[in-house]
């Protein structure tokens, strides 16, 4: 456990190693990104997003965006988590799975900090938010973390064997972003596409966060149970595959 914290802190520190402002970036980055989306979509594209009218576009995107960033960046960073530590794995006894967990949690911690800052900025700039919903947000984030961990285990284990995966996954994530209702809402799509999007396990998270924080829909239902099931399933598959393969990492690193 001490080792886990050590690597978690090391992961976080390594992002800011040598940078002047250090953790200030964790605040600056989300704020700038929100500003960017506001400028591009609201003032240049004059985008009209169904469902975003009542809260404003910035709030609409801001509430769901970090869920995606957390998932995408954790996955892509964790993909090479085992490979990056090849020097350690072949020379020191340590749990490779712990390294991946530390990588995911490090990324998640940075973005959860950013998310908190973003929500505070939104609330301070006049967005009406449901505080009862905010209390339930950690539950949704926990599910997202479970899903992300499972996905990260799977990717990092396969990356040891097939080195192209890191390249492929960055392309896949770029597409995946636009297949997930982060900067638009599902209501804007034709009926058949809306149905298809239910198959995307990431659809749930930005939508549910908006419901909780902006619309105040607090009741949990079948959609939540389904998302929880998927998260557990992905976590189980990822863990299983990782455990199967980790004995053999040393032969392929």
């Amino acid at each position: 456990m001490a080792l886990f914290w050590h690597f978690l802190l090391r992961d976080i520190r390594s992002r800011y190693l040598g940078s002047l402002t250090g953790l200030l970036w964790a605040v600056l980055h989300p704020a700038l990104q929100l500003l960017l989306y506001a400028t591009v979509f609201q003032h240049i594209f004059k985008a009209r997003v169904v469902g975003a009218e009542s809260h404003g576009f910035v709030a609409f995107v801001g509430v769901g965006f970090w869920a995606w960033v957390l998932f995408a960046e954790s996955s892509s960073r964790a993909t090479t988590a085992v490979l990056d530590q090849a020097a350690l794995i072949g020379k020191v006894k340590l749990s490779a799975q712990m390294l991946v967990t530390a990588s995911v949690c490090g990324t998640a911690a940075v973005h959860l900090f950013g998310y908190t800052v973003a929500l505070i900025i939104l609330a301070a700039s006049g967005t009406a938010m449901h505080w009862q919903g905010a209390l339930l947000v950690p539950l949704v984030i926990a599910m997202l973390l479970l899903l992300t961990l499972g996905f990260a285990y799977l990717l990092s284990a396969i990356q040891v064997f097939i080195r192209d995966l890191a390249q492929i996954i960055s392309q896949v994530l770029a597409f995946w972003f636009f297949l997930t209702p982060v900067v638009y809402s599902r209501e804007m799509l034709p009926a058949f596409a809306r149905e298809w999007m239910a198959w995307n396990p990431l659809t749930y998270y930005p939508e549910r966060l908006r419901q909780l924080l902006l619309d105040g829909e607090l009741a949990f239902g079948a959609a939540d149970a389904y998302a929880l099931l998927i998260a557990f399933l992905v976590f189980a598959i990822g863990t299983f595959a990782f455990r199967r393969l980790q004995r053999h990492f040393e032969d392929f690193l």
């Binding site: 001490a2 050590h6 020191v92 097939i162 199967r244 393969l245 004995r247 032969d251 392929f252």
Partner: protein, 392 residues
């Protein structure tokens, strides 16, 4: 006494992973719980047990599997078959700078290494001054490791291990990198550690270190245990093996075909034994030699006997012609010579006895037969033979 480490039939094999298709196939096979294809054997059937308080040196040529053995033992690598059980705390210094991150400072790396060895944060904080003092690398402790010399990296690594005071200490040929004074410091520390009941596993190419620090030695050869036992016996055999290997390489170039016609040495007895296996003798013992020489023409041939060290250095030679020794006739076509070498002053190591059949004039060599001889002992003098001496 309890076994600290127990290895049973351990093997380590690696798959061939050069081609993309191989890696893909391996991934699919492993995911479905099938055994991967493993084609390169690095360790085979290693059984070993190390008891608390023991000091074992592991020796062998490059690529004999010494480092792999240690990695399997420490749990860094998983054995392809067999079992490894370790009871008790261990600390290993496996490779130069293993576990160190080049971008971080010495101080930060101490924290990582300590965490990797399972030391708690408070424990590390307590010992950090002790570690820094032992490493003795001055202001470099706050510089990134990438600016260190190899010697400094070893100093730091050893200092961390020393602070850990494990039940089992494992080091892999790292002492050789440090300078003279640091090596001495390490050796002194290890001796103290051993006398305090510590257990040591040392891989080294320096027989001096192995003999000084270890009671037992294990000789790895092509992934297998070739010899295990008393440190002096095993290291002497190992050195003799190297001497023979060098001699063989040199001899291969200048070997002359020996005539099979005419006189030849038919059979040899060393202390009454006729088999071709090396004869093992404790130092200072005598040696009874007899040899039968075949003669095609009923005349009495001479015999020459030479003693060389395993690397080909001549020690002594004589012949029945020089000594005017007489043969006993065994039959019309066979004569026998017998002689005794009293209290051999040879130092422990590998030697070869050479027997040459010569014509009755003692001019021409007809045949060569050899027998290997191993002298055992735990003396640490140098050279070939012991010269009788007294200190005043």
């Amino acid at each position: 006494m309890t076994a600290l480490v127990q290895m049973q039939g351990v093997a380590k094999r690696y798959p061939l992973v050069h081609r993309k298709a191989d890696r893909m196939r391996a991934l699919v096979r492993l995911l479905f719980g099938l055994k991967g294809e493993q084609n390169i054997t690095v360790l085979e059937d290693v059984t070993l047990s190390i008891r608390a308080g023991e000091s074992l040196g592991i020796i062998g040529e490059n690529g004999a599997g010494k480092s792999t053995l240690l990695k399997v033992l420490t749990g860094v690598l998983h054995p392809s078959s067999g079992t490894v059980a370790v009871h008790g705390s261990l600390a290993a210094l496996l490779e130069l700078g293993a576990g160190f991150h080049p971008e971080y400072t010495g101080r930060q790396n101490i924290a990582t290494a300590a965490a990797l060895m399972g030391m708690s944060t408070s424990d590390t904080a307590q010992k950090i001054d002790e570690i820094i003092e032992f490493a003795d690398i001055g202001r470099y402790i706050d510089e990134p490791i990438k600016h260190y010399s190899t010697g400094m990296v070893v100093r730091l690594g050893f200092a961390i291990v020393a602070a850990r005071k494990p039940q089992l200490l494992i080091t892999d040929e790292v002492l050789a990198v440090g300078d003279e004074s640091f090596q001495k410091k390490c050796v002194r520390w290890i001796e103290e550690y051993l006398s305090g009941g510590g257990t040591l596993l040392l891989v080294s190419h320096s027989m001096y270190h192995v003999q000084k620090l270890c009671k037992h030695a294990l000789w790895m050869h092509q992934g297998r245990v070739r010899a295990y036992g008393d440190v002096f016996e095993v290291t002497q055999d190992y050195l003799a093996y190297h001497e023979r290997k060098t001699a063989k390489e040199a001899e291969a170039e200048k070997r002359v075909p020996v005539s099979t016609e005419g006189y030849r040495v038919e059979s040899i007895w060393l202390n009454g034994r006729s088999e071709e296996l090396p004869l093992v003798l404790p130092e200072g013992r005598g040696l009874e030699i007899s040899a039968e020489v075949y003669t095609p023409d009923a005349r009495i041939p001479h015999i020459a006997i030479g003693l060389i060290r395993a690397d080909g250095t001549a020690v002594y030679g004589t012949s029945s012609e020089i000594d005017k020794a007489l043969a006993t006739r065994v039959s019309d076509t066979m004569v026998r010579y017998s002689l005794r070498l009293d209290a051999l002053p040879l130092l422990p190591g590998g030697y070869t006895l050479r027997f040459h059949a010569m014509d009755p004039e003692g001019l021409r060599v007809f045949d060569t037969q050899t027998r290997d001889l191993v002298i055992r002992g735990d003396c640490r003098e140098f050279g070939l033979v012991r010269l009788s001496h007294q200190w005043h």
